[in-house]
């Protein structure tokens, strides 16, 4: 379903963030991307989600070559993914409900149907009572869960999370990881970037290890 073939990414400044990376992730699989800070984890996830384009090799998503997509087709490709960004990218001038409903509006889902789905997503991450709250008033962990709710609300078939447990204590981190396992259980392809070895070791899932832009396993 997701296939990298000798992929390289050279950023405009001339920095080579990924070099000769090849792997495959099957439909419904759970995969971790790990490595030191600056190893290229976020870059790899952005290549999957068609946010960055490869400068070498091919990235295939469901048999579509991302580099060959027309600009107008890219938004539709991105909608296949639920994204949790490393820096959350929450909208701080909109309340919790409006943050979560945004992907639904982009997908053209409005009204009662949208409201129902937003509540379901907030319920899953334990934020049901906070619809009217502004993100800035939420704790770090709550903001992280809000970002997850926004990623899953449009029921994507592929969930991509960049350091979703980055600044959480252990119990919260475990809770959130369980959330991702639950999505994996119901058939969603889940890809998580993490430098936290303990969460990965416990799962027994596929692991893509990066070192200075190159795959080591």
């Amino acid at each position: 379903m997701i296939k990298f073939d000798q992929v390289g990414k050279l950023y405009p400044g001339g920095y080579e963030a990924l070099r000769n990376v090849s792997f495959e992730i099957a439909k419904g699989e759970l995969a971790f991307v790990t490595g030191h800070s600056g190893a290229g984890k976020s870059t790899l996830l952005k290549l999957i989600a068609a946010i960055e384009r490869p400068t070498a090799g091919t990235v295939l998503i469901g048999n579509q070559n991302v580099a060959k997509l027309r600009p107008a087709a890219i938004p539709h490709m991105r909608r296949k993914f639920g994204l949790v960004f490393q820096d959350h990218k929450l909208l701080y001038d909109r309340n919790v409900y409006d943050n979560v409903v945004l992907p639904l509006h982009i997908n053209g889902i409005l009204g009662n149907e949208a409201a129902k789905r937003v509540r379901a997503a907030l319920d899953k991450v334990g934020l049901l009572g906070k619809e009217k709250a502004m993100p800035i008033t939420l704790s770090g962990g709550e903001q992280q869960r809000l970002a997850i709710a926004r990623a899953v609300v449009s029921r994507p078939s592929i969930l991509i999370a960049d350091e979703p447990t980055g600044n959480l204590d252990e119990t919260y981190a475990a809770e959130i990881m369980n959330l991702f396992y639950a999505f994996h259980q119901v058939g969603v392809t889940v890809i998580i970037a993490s430098h936290d070895a303990s969460t990965i070791a416990a799962s027994g899932a596929k692991v893509l290890r990066l070192d200075h832009g190159a795959m080591t396993s």
Binding site: A49, I51, P71, A72, P75, H76, M77, R78, R79, F81, L83, F85, K89, L91, Y92, D93, R94, L102, P103, H105, I106, N107, G108, L110, G111, R150
Partner: protein, 300 residues
């Protein structure tokens, strides 16, 4: 279709919410746009009324036919016949040279002066009213009559009407030029307003694009904002003009009564208002379309 409508309704709701939450700034913006628009619309209104006023006065332009000084009775009769049967002549009257001389002497108190003249210097004359009061038609009639036998000189007293007409014509062109220029200004004003809105919503645009929003989705609320600014500005201009007209009519009421005139400035008619509002909405839409397009192409 239903889906499409609800997408638009959602964008509209968003925009109205935003405009409401920045009431004061929105109101200021609409006033600026309204003032800009009221200039050409106001000039149009003035010209429209001036045209109406001129139309009321020019309704009996006269043509004076002066005969040769030695015209015979036969010539006068022949001309009388020609005038009677002419299609474009509404009515006419004959002013004999002796009667005219007597009247002049009496009226102007020129008895003494005229006494110095041994001969009557005036020719026979006809005063003619035409059926039409269009300057071109009357001019045509004048030229035709000038060819007739026994006519020395034909004089139109419509020269000033003609001048007024061409002045109005110039004025109408000025309205077009002014409207064009201020339309351009409106485009810039709305474009800039939208550009500022885009800047405050940069993050939202970025996130939306990252999670799969199309350019059309990004554009939609801004297009509504631009159109609403244009429409609101058009309505503001309309209200401004209505207020100005009412005020003016109120203050000329006494003067008008004094002159036994029922002259009033009339408001813009329905069609013109429609053009004003439609035009301003369209310009607002276009201004924001250009602003969003420029932004979108700058971030790719």
């Amino acid at each position: 279709m239903k889906h499409w409508i609800s997408l638009h309704r959602e964008a509209l709701r968003l925009v109205l919410d935003r405009m409401w939450s920045t009431k004061l700034a929105t109101l200021m913006m609409l006033s600026v746009i309204g003032l800009t628009l009221s200039l050409p619309a106001g000039l149009y209104l003035v010209l429209d009324n001036a045209g109406r006023l001129a139309g009321g006065i020019e309704s009996d332009p006269q043509i004076s036919l002066f005969l040769n000084i030695d015209a015979s009775n036969e010539t006068v009769k022949a001309l009388d016949k020609q005038l009677r049967s002419h299609k474009m002549v509404k009515d006419y009257r004959f002013v004999g040279r002796d009667a005219a001389w007597a009247e002049l002497k009496q009226k102007a108190g020129l008895d003494d002066l005229a006494g110095g003249l041994e001969k009557n210097p005036l020719p026979d004359a006809f005063i003619v009213h035409a059926r039409s009061n269009e300057p071109e038609t009357i001019e045509q009639l004048r030229q035709e009559i000038a060819q007739w036998d026994g006519i020395d000189h034909v004089q139109l007293d419509t020269a000033w009407v003609k001048r007024l007409y061409s002045l109005l014509q110039v004025g109408r062109q000025a309205v077009l030029v002014l409207a064009g220029m201020l339309g351009f200004a409106l485009l810039a004003v709305v474009g800039n307003t939208i550009r500022l809105q885009i800047l405050t919503q940069r993050e939202e645009i970025e996130v939306s694009q990252l999670i799969g929003a199309t350019n059309a989705f990004i554009r939609r609320p801004f297009l509504y904002a631009g159109s609403l600014h244009g429409l609101g500005g058009g309505i503001a201009a309309w209200l401004l003009l209505a207020a100005a007209t009412t005020l003016f009519n109120f203050s000329i009421e006494d003067v008008a009564r004094l002159y036994a005139s029922d002259f009033r400035l009339t408001m813009l008619d329905g069609g013109t208002i429609l053009i004003l509002l439609g035009g301003s909405t369209l310009l607002g839409w276009l201004g924001s379309y250009l602003a969003v397009s420029r932004y979108l192409s700058s971030i790719h």
